[in-house]
């Protein structure tokens, strides 16, 4: 007997990309890409190397500004958004090549994820220590819940640079979660992990989606993982969208098979 599957309710459109094009010099990284992400769903972006997957994430959280097209997030359309503004609007992300603060402890790293949730200003920090302190404690409690959630209690005080790769990925996820994002962008969350770590990570991603109702957009190479995790899949090839649909639909799509699935990755 297996656990009763979760009754998740996919909601309205949370994020919409409309005709996004992005060029670096003469090279078109993205060419007229449109798709939408509904709230509460897990949306995968797949495609061969160099297909523009990471660029797309970078457009969503404002690292790159598209040369054409617009991003609509929570009903507001943006031509240009900066990363920390995206963060303020509830978009958190992880990076393909882990971007943690290597010299800081796991706990401090995750605490930085709370930056936008902190209200006591700089002056309060200096003048009114009590309030800033009680706020810090409240944040610490929140962060401890995330530490508990991702089962990284044992490395709480360890500097991140000393951790194994798989654990760093988990810490990066923890830091993103600390911001209590509505939209979580994961850039190859399982790259370079062994089987056991991958399975743990899969479970965490599903748990996050389930427990916190977080909408997730993820880039992943492992097709098994993508098929298991995601509700819908976008397929990119050479910066163009060549497929979009449920994992099963995408698997049957001839263009996708030619471009990607047919080729052993």
């Amino acid at each position: 007997m297996s656990p009763v599957p979760s009754q998740r309710s996919i909601g309205d459109v949370l994020l919409k990309l409309d005709g996004i094009s992005l060029a670096f010099g003469g090279v078109k990284a993205l060419d007229d890409v449109s798709f939408e992400v509904r709230s509460h769903e897990i949306r995968a972006i797949i495609g061969p190397n160099g297909a523009g997957k990471s660029s797309l994430l970078n457009v969503i959280n404002g690292v790159y500004h598209p040369s054409q097209g617009a991003v609509t997030y929570k009903g507001t359309t943006y031509r240009q958004m900066r990363p920390h503004e995206a963060a303020r609007r509830g978009i958190a992300r992880t990076f393909q090549n882990i971007a943690l603060f290597k010299g800081m402890t796991v706990l401090d790293n995750i605490m930085t994820g709370r930056t936008l949730k902190m209200h006591a200003g700089f002056l309060f920090q200096c003048l009114y220590f009590g309030k800033a302190r009680s706020e810090e404690l409240a944040h610490r409690r929140k962060v401890e819940h995330i530490i508990d959630f991702l089962q990284i209690e044992h490395i709480r005080k360890t500097p991140v640079g000393r951790l194994a790769y798989g654990l760093q990925k988990r810490v990066e996820l923890a830091r993103a979660l600390a911001a209590e994002p509505e939209l979580l962008l994961l850039d190859e969350p399982m790259a370079g992990m062994n089987l056991e770590e991958k399975e743990d990570m899969c479970r965490f991603i599903l748990d996050v989606n389930d427990e916190f109702g977080t909408t997730i957009v993820l880039i992943e190479h492992d097709m098994g993982v993508v098929m298991d995790l995601s509700d819908r899949v976008v397929v990119l090839d050479y910066g163009r969208k060549i497929g979009d649909g449920s994992p099963d639909e995408v698997r049957r799509n001839q263009a996708v098979i030619d471009a990607y699935l047919g080729v052993r990755h």
Partner: protein, 655 residues
Amino acid sequence: MNGAAPPAVADTFPRLLLEHARVHGTQTSAREKDLGIWQSWTWSEAAANVRALACGLAAMGFKRGDHLAVIGDNRPQLYWAIAAAQVLGGVAVPLYQDAIALEMAYILDDADVRFAVVEDQEQVDKLLEIRGQLSKLVHIVFEDPRGMRHYSQTFLRAYADVQQVGRDFDAAHPEFFLREVNQGSSSDIAIMLYTSGTTGKPKGVCHTHAALIAAARGGCDFDHLGPGDEVLSYLPMAWVGDNLFSYAQALVAGFTINCPESGDTVMTDMREIGPTYYFAPPRVFENLLTQVMIRMEDASRLKRALFHWFLGVARRCGAEILDRKPGVSPLDRLLYALGSVLVFGPLRNVLGMSRIRVAYTAGAAIGPDLFRFYRSIGVNLKQLYGSTETCAYVCLQPDRHIKLDTVGPPAPGVEVRIAEDGEVLVRSRALLKEYYRRPDSTAEVFDAQGYFRTGDAGLFDADGHLKIIDRAKDVGKLSSGAVFAPNYIENKLKFFPYVKEAVAFGHGRDMVCAFINIDLGAVGNWAERRNLAYSGYTDLAGKPQVYDLIARCVEKVNAELAADPMVAESQVRRFLILHKELDPDDDELTRTRKVRRGFIADKYGRLVDALYEGKSVQHIDTQVKFEDGRSGVIEADVSIRDAATYPPAAMRNSA
């Protein structure tokens, strides 16, 4: 409190609990680290929690004589569940939390478990997986609700909900709880612990309140434990030792139990708590020492020199100073005092052992060097000897009368006899009542005078200290007729930090050969320092340089064996390094990590044959089970080496 007056004599665990709540209700009974903070519960709170849970279980239909399984990491809530079952005249059956579902199914069925209190989703999933086979299991209570939102099965209940039901029930039936406690008798079965099953299927060892309390009281008196002592509860709850130290003794002496945040944080948590009473199997002491040594390798040259120099001082006189023996020179005393400030104190602190008054080890032989190391840096580490059937101990080493190679004299109240065939026989109040529903097995282990057959071979030395040689049934003979005690050889091998497990063969053969498992941490570190690249265990285990390293260890053991005429013929002639780590999931080790020699000999028959056929390499495919239950195959060409042997001491002397 409502209902009848509390019983006069605290002769059952529920009565002990109420007694502590009455006498020092505001003192700390249990702590647990959760969300980075140590949460604590007083004896009154513990009693109230047990009361609520017991009433809740009763409301769900728990009857006197029912069996309640307890599965999970050490948590106050799970210890309370044991107490709650005992309040209701039931029997608690703790299970190893890392056992796979199938193993659990056997015990749950064998023990006629009707109720289970488990820690979290992981354990619930395991029970759901095997629920089809368990017609008797009707209720599952889970403590941690995380991930359980979508489980709608009606037989699943949250711990907190059960307690709430219990409080309502208690309000409606205020006399119920104390009436139940009063009905209990010290001759009731309190707990059932399953033997690890080195031989055959696990058997449920039934202990009465009286036996456990006698054992606990004996131990507490022996080591002067009382309120104010602190124990770290981190060993599996299904193991008799944890039941004695964290439950029975805590309730008898009224000391505080401390549950770590998770299995991975034990070291940190131990440092924070600083227990005064500590138990660990030898492998834990060994791992701790290995970690310290690895860290010292990375330390600056000055620190390293200082460390080793003072350890030399400690080796010379540390144990003697701890035992307050005369004959230590004033200079050594001075140097040792200096070492305490500079090295031993900080070291004890790093190990979390600053406050330890009494530490025990048992379960396997501890290396003399390892044992002496801890004693020499001022940790009062002692050995005990016993088994599940004897409530954990038979012999305890008394303070200041420690001998490295014995387990001490029989503990107060315990009679020990050596049978003619060398088997150790025990009689005391703390023996098992029976094996659950196995009268034949029960009859087998008791002799006519009521002595329990331990199955161990041993002897008394001149001071009346017991020395255990091996399992009685494991002691075999080489084809020459010489004694072959495999454990003795394996333990000597395992005393090297590079050797994690060893399996010796030789019964009925003309020579002794061995399988070796290297310690991935220690050998890996050794390899890194030599810039020896490796991709994983199998790769590292096959390296010729690693073979050289292990050959040196084997040859040192041979030299030691050669010195003792009894075992001189048991020198290891040939060995191989196994291509995979022995694993309880593959049934190669028991859950307490003892090697299952017979099983291994069967499974790796081709390797054993190759050892004796004189081959230098052997190909083998091995099935392995991963943590998630799936299986795979490891293939390898395992090399075999000859090891140098030495002429027996007697011959050398005559030459």
